[in-house]
Symmetry: C2
Subunit: 312 residues, 2 copies
């Protein structure tokens, strides 16, 4: 098993979907990534920042799931990052209603001594300079995974290019991949992104699944068809947590093993969207996960032998 | 091997895409279905109608691909159905520029005596009354597959409901499935459609792949990620031709075998979109198809064993 170091926001979210709305609840990229990766019983740690208003029960939730929080700074008198958003009826698009950076504005990440030798590093969505600073504190990572979004393309292009050039894997959604490269075809977009640095490119298409690119190889994992998506918040981070958690657990960064990591990421994300916020992720058990993994196999695996007996 | 009976248009198309435009070229649902199914060397026949303006070379193309055209009526002095359309830049949407029904307006389909005992029937997109008339001429079909579109929902709802109630499989795109059922979730839409008659529901999502539903089972085939889609015309019909052609060839209408049929349909459709009209489909060889089938396996197959050694 490898050590997994996660940087990202730990936050309060207020979410409105067609099915209801929440008060301030636990959110943030690092929270979702950590909870998802914790399903693999890996040795993980979060580097992040919260304010004094952050309740102890949330801290206990993280440590209770075996996530090290020595690198989670608590700023005295500070207020925790807050995001509020409202999803449209199709749940594919949303409006941001409010963003309060608070303690995140001056965040200076410090990786705990015990995790400077982490083999797997997950740079969750945050300012590229924060991601770079974390990366520079890690001695000799085996695999660095970057998640980012269009906001940084619009507001911190040069810094983003710098961090992109230093990572092994990038996870990004389809529209962002197009914005980053100017290519409509995702195949071409992925090729261009590989030239920027990452040897592996994961393009997330939401309800339409996720693609993994590496040289001329492509792997695809559908999203599990669900009767109802309740709240998409955190699905991408949960995917990233499943992806890196599985790789840390299996200690294998081959393309073949990354296919499995994409499947585990998709499987865990399919739970995340079933309830508000982190609710569904905290009560998950291994039987549920294995049973959903079986649904993924049934959904995608077929039996055509490419031999002389092939029907054609 | 089973006999395959196909009804649908045989037509002229004039197509404009961002990559170029064509004069009147060979088109029509039955044409694409027939050419696609012919890859399996099945015994197939087309029931359709053309005008006296339909060139012999097109007839020879069909018979040369071992498609029986005894049921293809040639109306003396009549003109062939003509459709013209222009695709938008994303190739996902198009405008119809011209539709001339011509001989299709009074089409009275006659199934040739030798195909009244066809086991597999493919009702290509056409007026539901024409589809019903063909179905009534078949003695004891083993599997009836229906393709239709939103136009008939808007203009022939009652007739459409009648034919839907009599088929085993329906293929329909995602927006049409939503229109037919009023359900946004495709899982719920498929359940509602199953209640209308079809035991199997195929929902086509274009570049996002296709879903096969049967009771509580779901199978998904992605579209092959392509660098460039040149002309999407006929992709859905080519899918239907691959689906029914494979089933006719393998003589197996189980759900497990239908998964393979969906894969073959997607594989053949991935060729169709690479050139204008039927151009790519007529020069296809079995090596190309098998090599693309291997791409589909590489794209979708993974190796997670659900045993006590599963990573979780």
């Amino acid at each position: 098993m490898s050590k997994l170091l996660i940087v990202g926001t730990v936050a309060f979210d207020a979410i409105e979907t067609p099915f209801g709305k929440t008060d301030k609840i636990l959110g943030g990229a690092a929270t979702y990534i950590g909870l998802s990766a914790s399903q693999f019983d890996v040795d993980s740690a979060i580097v992040s920042v919260v304010g004094e208003d952050f309740p102890e029960e949330h801290l206990n939730l993280l440590t209770g799931n075996n996530i090290n929080i020595d690198g989670l700074e608590i700023v005295k008198g500070g207020k925790t990052f807050f995001w509020s958003g409202k999803y449209h009826n199709d749940l594919n698009t949303r409006d941001t209603l409010d963003t309060q950076l608070n303690v995140l504005a001056d965040f200076n990440p410090v990786v705990p001594a015990a995790y400077k030798d982490a083999e797997i590093v997950m740079l969750g969505n945050l300012h590229p300079l924060v991601q770079l600073s974390v990366l520079e504190q890690i001695t000799s990572p085996k695999l660095v995974v970057l998640d980012t979004m269009n906001f940084w393309m619009d507001n911190a292009w040069d810094d983003l290019m710098k961090v992109i050039s230093k990572v092994d894997v990038i996870t990004i959604n389809d529209e962002e991949a197009r914005q980053l490269t100017g290519e409509h075809s995702l195949v071409r977009a992925a090729r261009k992104i590989e030239k920027l640095g990452p040897k592996y490119v994961v393009i997330k298409k939401g309800e339409h699944g996720a693609l993994l690119f590496h040289n001329d190889q492509i792997f695809f994992a559908p999203a599990l068809p669900l009767e109802e998506v309740f709240d998409p918040t955190g699905a991408g981070d949960t995917f990233a947590g499943g992806f890196t958690g599985y790789i840390a657990k299996s200690n294998d960064i081959s393309f073949e093993n990354m296919k499995n990591a994409v499947i585990y990421g998709s499987t865990l994300a399919s739970f995340c969207v079933e309830k508000f916020g982190t609710e569904r992720m905290t009560g998950l058990n291994k039987n549920e996960i294995n049973s959903r993994l079986k649904e993924f196999k049934d959904l995608t695996q077929f039996d055509i032998e490419l031999t002389p007996t092939t029907a054609l």
